[in-house]
């Protein structure tokens, strides 16, 4: 009998031990808690590129400029005043004397120079944003080329510490959105002194240049020193991140929520149940299906608004496909025919979240004052004429073609609907090829496809964040559509100092793109936030879906 009792007791003890080992236990509820998509990938601002990372970046750091919590326009951040030269190429930043790091040390010009230099030496996804600074690109290239005897010279980079409180930056040409760049997390400052403890073996280049390496652990809670409204209190990997108000932040009087939790979740259904049970105040994403059902019922907690991204199909514009066969989509008429044959309303009837059917590449309403051109709207008769002119009357003789997409969300459903429309309207039966996302990305990048699903999200408040994708030197021109007129328009817009004229030039460029139809725009994405209006204040619905957490307040 004793033996029968021993085993269960031993097991219970074992279980209890395992619970403790796995870090059980609950903690006090934060002032504001939210669930963002997945776990944060990095807290190193230089390397940030995912949305969830960038949102946290805005909470922890503050750039020379920051974003207005409501309009997301760039406004002075930890530098004020900011002197801009008449030709808009020289920015002189006077760093606020009251700006402090979370360890109490003042924010100084060298913090920015250190972070920018580090990013140029160790490029990340957004290093190219610094190329507008005079000498930056040359420095990055020279450092990467690493020729013996020719060490890259940082003194040639025109980001100069005039005095500890003053930073002067000279640009290659006027850049209308340079304040937005400064307000973007990858360009945020770093506190070198606090990172010394995490110094790793430095890289000595052949050219003699030395690059400081830091261990990744410098971003751990307790080690990370930040200059924003919050500091990192605790980070339990894939469980929770806790932020607490930075006691030294210069604008601390306006920080509404003192403690913020970011709960980690990999499953959207779970996230929604967590919200419904009152466990979190805000979820940034919903599964398409739950969202559309809530949308249909006008659920007051669901907040749907246009997003900064477009869902489209991309045509391969190469003369030949990768297998050597001629590519029908090399012919602009075929691309136009395929584009004109799709009714976008049926597509958003599938997604059913109030997505906006769109003929445009740049999301409508994304940029104030942008004169959006007209794209190719559905016109089956014209599509059939164009197809016949291209040599495929009624779809006869059209080679077997595949439509590529990744097997996630409702891409398969959308593809099935588009395929049926092409079959009905053009008489062409394309094959659906759904695949696992990594393979799909590979195929898209190597142009190993004919038609493929694609999407693009903008990063900063300027149309070039969209138009750059189809420039000649872009690494992301998955269509391989090369157009001189488009290229010259984009280059012209780059150096145009007048904001309104610039937008008009971008509109011309987009018109060229839409008429040439390397892509078939389907709809503008929407964001679906879920939060209780009566409780959560100061959470604006902005097309760029960025939030300044310091302005958020939860009333319970």
């Amino acid at each position: 009998m004793l033996r029968l009792a021993v085993i269960p007791i031993a097991l219970i003890l074992l279980l209890a031990g395992a619970m403790v080992w796995s870090g059980g236990g609950t903690q006090q509820r934060a002032d504001f808690s939210y669930i963002d998509r997945g776990e944060v990938s990095t807290l190193d601002p230089n390397r940030m590129s995912w949305t969830q990372d960038i949102r946290v970046g805005y909470a922890l750091w503050e750039g020379l400029y920051t974003l207005d919590p409501v309009t997301l326009d760039a406004i002075p951040g930890c530098a004020f005043p900011i002197d801009i030269s008449a030709d808009k190429t020289v920015y002189t930043f006077h760093i606020r004397p009251e700006a402090r790091w979370s360890n109490g040390k003042p924010v100084v010009a060298s913090n920015f120079i250190f972070a920018w230099r580090r990013m140029l030496e160790e490029p990340g996804d957004y290093t190219y944003l610094l190329h507008y600074i005079k000498g930056a690109k040359e420095f990055e290239d020279a450092f990467a080329a690493d020729e013996p005897g020719k060490p890259a010279d940082f003194s040639k980079v025109e980001a100069i510490e005039v005095n500890p409180q003053t930073l002067r930056v000279t640009l290659l040409h006027p850049v209308a959105f340079f304040p937005d760049i400064c307000a973007f997390p990858p360009c945020f400052p770093l506190n070198r002194e606090s990172m010394q403890e995490y110094l790793d073996v430095p890289t000595v280049k052949k050219s003699g240049a030395i690059h400081e390496n830091y261990k990744k652990t410098f971003t751990r809670a307790g080690a990370l020193v930040t200059n924003g409204a919050y500091m990192l209190k605790d980070w339990q990997f894939r469980r929770r991140m806790r932020f607490e108000a930075n006691p030294y932040y210069w604008d601390r009087a306006n920080v509404k929520s003192k403690v913020i939790d970011k709960i980690s979740s990999d499953d959207l259904s779970w996230s929604y149940e967590m919200f419904a049970s009152g466990g979190v105040d805000w979820i940034t994403d919903l599964s398409g299906d739950t969202a559309s059902e809530l949308f249909a019922r006008h659920d007051p907690d669901l907040h749907v608004f246009p997003a900064f991204g477009t869902y489209f199909y991309s045509f391969n514009c190469n003369e030949k496909l990768n297998d050597g066969k001629p590519n029908p989509f090399f012919d602009v008429r075929v691309r136009q025919a395929f584009t004109l044959a799709v009714n976008k309303q049926t597509i958003v009837d599938i997604t059913r979240l109030g997505e906006l059917p769109s003929d445009n590449y740049i999301p409508l309403g994304a940029f104030t004052g942008y004169p959006a051109p007209h794209g190719l709207s559905m016109d089956v008769a014209r599509a059939q004429r164009l197809l016949a002119a291209a040599g495929y009357p009624g779809g006869k003789g059209f080679p077997q073609t595949s439509l590529l997409f990744n097997n996630e969300a409702n891409h398969a459903q959308i593809a099935q609907s588009v395929r049926n429309q092409w079959l009905e309207n053009l008489g062409i039966d394309v094959r659906l090829e759904g695949m696992e996302i990594k393979v799909y990305r590979d195929k898209l990048h190597t142009k190993d496809y004919a038609v493929g699903r694609a999407s693009w999200f903008g990063d900063y408040n300027d149309p070039s964040t969209f138009t750059d994708k189809y420039k000649k030197d872009s690494g992301n021109n998955d269509s391989n559509w090369l157009n001189d007129k488009y290229q010259s328009l984009c280059e012209k817009a780059d150096v145009e100092p007048d904001a309104m004229k610039r937008l008009a030039i971008f509109a011309q460029a987009e018109k060229v793109l839409l008429d040439e139809a390397p892509i078939l725009p389907l709809f503008t994405y929407v964001n679906a936030y879920v939060f209780r209006d009566r409780q959560v204040k100061g959470l604006p619905l902005n097309i760029r879906s960025m939030e300044m957490y310091k302005s958020i307040q939860v009333v319970r």
């Binding site: 870090g23 990938s41 967590m274 898209l444």
Partner: protein, 308 residues
């Protein structure tokens, strides 16, 4: 016996090395690049420098770098999660999965053996059919359906269990139960079959003839011998359960190791794949060794050291 264990333990690193090499080959022949993205700007220079940092520019540099590190207990940096190393990921996830897996295995063994024995005793009877149908439904439905349905029903609709992050025992019960269903069904089935075998054997008849009660014979003498096949099942089953389940951890949002087994493959996170495979293999090999040793204790007739 000691010699047998020693030989097996010495074999472990060798088998692990082969598993490592095989996984490595599979990882490098699989199409798809861990560094590509489509919806954001990509700079080939950036990707090159990242690859260089991760020693992932070619399989040679990868192979030259990682095995040495791994022996030191450092699995390298994860390619998906920038700030943490694979060792951190395992250290964060494994305890969670092991706790949950322990609970699940305890439930599975106790319930499974009981159901199996009762079914064997009432062979062909109502309970036999009923219990087996229930057990079989458990293994006749996709695990993602069972997990999601349990969650939607008991957490979402009925609110019997709290929806919460990892930490409290109450939040652990339902996922533990969900995780135990599959092994429970197999254990019940195995117990039933071998119990039926046992009940028709001579020594049970002898025991009954001696005048021992039916219950004593079944639960004491019969069961002791009937659990043998269950024990051999427990090795791989424990290894699989304790290292976490993709579905259960996803549905109940448990920060365990299970998700990494699938996600690392889908993300082509080469270092994380190798790390998780190593953890899984170590568990599996260890449990199989324990099972072989346990066999010898439960049934001294079995000579594990004998060459077949």
């Amino acid at each position: 016996m000691g010699r047998f264990i020693a030989i097996r333990v010495l074999q472990l690193p060798l088998i692990l090395a082969v598993i490592y090499l095989l996984t490595f080959v599979l990882v490098w022949v699989a199409p798809g690049d861990p560094f590509t993205r489509t919806d954001k700007k990509i700079d080939p220079v950036v990707i090159e420098s990242m690859k260089k940092k991760m020693h992932a520019e070619s399989w040679r540099s990868f192979l030259a770098h990682y095995p040495v590190q791994m022996i030191k207990g450092d699995f390298g940096a994860s390619l998906t999660y920038d700030d943490v190393s694979v060792t951190d990921i395992i250290r964060a996830g494994l305890p969670v999965s092991v706790s949950l897996g322990l609970l699940a295995m305890v439930i599975a063994v106790y319930a499974g053996v009981c159901i199996g024995t009762l079914a064997a005793v009432s062979r062909g009877g109502l309970f036999d059919w009923f219990s087996l149908s229930v057990a079989l439904i458990g293994i006749s439905l996709p695990s993602f359906v069972i997990g999601s349905a349990l969650f939607a029903l008991f957490c979402g609709t009925l609110h019997w269990f709290p929806i919460g992050s990892w930490g409290s025992f109450s939040a652990m019960v339902l996922p533990g139960l969900a995780l135990s269903l599959t092994p429970m069904a197999y254990i019940a089935r195995l117990t039933r079959v071998s119990m039926i075998d046992m009940l028709s054997s001579d020594f049970i008849r002898t025991a009954r003839a001696k005048g021992l009660s039916r219950a004593t014979v079944i639960w004491k003498h019969g069961l002791k011998n009937a659990v043998l096949p269950v024990i051999s099942f427990l090795g791989p089953a424990s290894a699989a359960t304790l290292t976490g389940s993709f579905i259960v951890e996803k549905v109940f949002n448990i920060p365990g190791l299970g998700q990494h087994f699938v996600n690392s493959v889908l993300n082509r996170d080469q270092t994380l794949i190798l790390g998780t495979v190593m953890v899984y293999s170590i568990f599996l090999l260890t449990f199989n060794l324990i099972v072989d040793v346990a066999y010898a204790f439960v049934d001294p007739r079995i000579d594990v050291t004998a060459k077949q």
